[in-house]
Subunit: 302 residues, 2 copies
């Protein structure tokens, strides 16, 4: 089954302890769709400026991503500049130029409206709601957000959460949104707001899923070096949603497998700048790392 | 098989977001031996002052802990005062009064010297080495340390590491000791210093074991509230070593099980101040939480 993703396509300039990259391809929808494309058909909705080179569009197409919803409009593409220090869980934003993204008003092409899976990447929750109004028949909707919207548009976010099946946020955001330090309590509060399932991303510490009273703890893959964490969360969501859409199975057991596939894709993504590593994978790499996650976490009953 | 533990017995005064406790029983050897006592015989070596009430000694005895190595000497017992904020991974030390502990020179009673398992809790690495010189026939030796010794006595610590099988430290200490931010690289450097196995404790994020080229990631138990983290690391080590000594099996599979038992004991310990929760367990509580760890981490092959 196919996935519709709505989010950003951007140019990132990133500095990490391991090097720097200037104006490389980034954006939540880019990372998500590249990651998900290993599992299923992806239909992308985003906006870029006239400075956006066709070669990047060709790159997305070559991964089978449907880009008929990628609008090119007069102006410059969204740009983000950030730095990571040795604490690679924490991005320090140096510059944000929304450019054409500031007037992004996602219109879902007719050919996308039957997508059973929908991922609303981190954009204004009012726009996320507008997207959902255009895809009434979605089978499974997931969304992300960020502290900016938690602080700036909490009511819209709460309204959105009543309409989604899965909410994916990071640890600090979960604490901020719920106003509680305990993640277990935070999860209960958030699930009371609507979504059936909550996934809390914890960077190099993995992820926690809260679902129907059960909790699943997934580790992160212990990498020699985390080269560049940019896009890890969206690669995670891409692997997760991609696997769910591929299998069409929304059981707890399959959600757990999907989280591991998400973690696999995130672990590859952080091995290089931009989409370098994500674009160079084969299915066997992905399956092998899935098995490594199994070995990493396995212990026997007593 | 029995375990010899050498460490501190202390009075702790602790403040957390959930309450405060004044002059309650604490100390690394106390937490360790109480935790390990659920699995095997424990022989404790420590020092207290004349202010140490017999009721605490009786409490340890009632858990079957051999206290013939617990010396009472003129002076006051070690006291520590600390505070935890909402980031419960980080203890803020307010006061440390070593008192009689400052001249601690552990003498291992004759009846203890055949203990096949030895745990050297966090004390001066020169003293840890002296202990090992008194128990030549140990089958499996584990040790802990802290940043104070990493900074103050790195050479003694390196010398000690050549003599131990298992080194248990926390994440920040692993990074500091190895001088590298990557835990995978840090682990390799530390294992090159001697120990066959390294366990890195990550507080509410669980633990990582590096052993013969394999890595095991254990989660922490997602608790509603972490009431007081004091003693979590030593309770962890107590469950881990206790299970290893109980089974006498040092295989990778059993080390993994032992880490889960350690995590189980730590998860109970943090549910209350001092040894309140650790002292009130039954074996069934421990086994049930082990099963919960299994459910928490289980995912199926693809």
């Amino acid at each position: 089954m196919s996935i519709l993703v709505v989010g950003s396509v951007a140019f990132d300039s990133v500095e990490t302890p391991f090097g720097k990259a200037e104006e490389v391809l980034g954006g939540s929808a880019t990372y998500f769709s590249t990651s998900a494309s290993y599992f299923t058909d992806v239909k992308l909705v985003a906006v870029v400026g006239t400075d956006f080179p066709d070669i990047h569009i060709e790159g997305l197409k070559s991964r089978g991503i449907d880009v008929s919803g990628l609008k090119k409009v007069p102006g410059k593409t969204f740009r983000w500049r950030g730095r990571y220090d040795y604490d690679l869980n924490q991005a320090h934003t140096l510059e944000t130029h929304l450019n054409v993204f500031s007037s992004f008003n996602p219109e879902i092409p007719e050919s996308y409206r039957e997508s059973p899976f929908v991922f609303l990447a981190n954009i204004d929750p009012e726009l996320q709601i507008k997207v959902l109004e255009q895809v009434k028949g979605a089978k499974f909707v997931a969304c992300d957000t960020m502290n900016f919207w938690i602080e700036g548009k909490p009511d819209a976010l709460r309204k959105l959460l009543k309409k989604v099946d899965l909410f994916v946020i990071n640890e600090g955001e979960a604490r901020e949104f719920s106003g509680t330090a305990s993640l277990v309590k935070a999860a209960r509060k958030i699930l009371n707001n609507g979504p059936k399932t909550l996934i809390i991303k914890r960077g190099e510490y993995g992820a926690l899923m809260f679902n129907h009273g059960s909790v699943f703890s997934a580790p992160a893959y212990p990498l020699e070096d985390i080269f560049d964490p940019t896009g890890a969360g969206d690669s995670f969501a891409g692997g997760l949603m991609g696997y769910l859409a591929n299998t069409g199975d929304l059981s707890e057991a399959n959600l757990r497998r999907a989280i591991i596939f998400g973690s696999v894709m995130a672990s590859f993504n952080v091995e290089a700048f931009s989409l370098e590593r994500l674009n160079s994978l084969c299915l066997n790499d992905i399956k092998m790392r899935y098995s490594e996650f199994k070995r990493l976490t396995h212990f026997e009953d007593i």
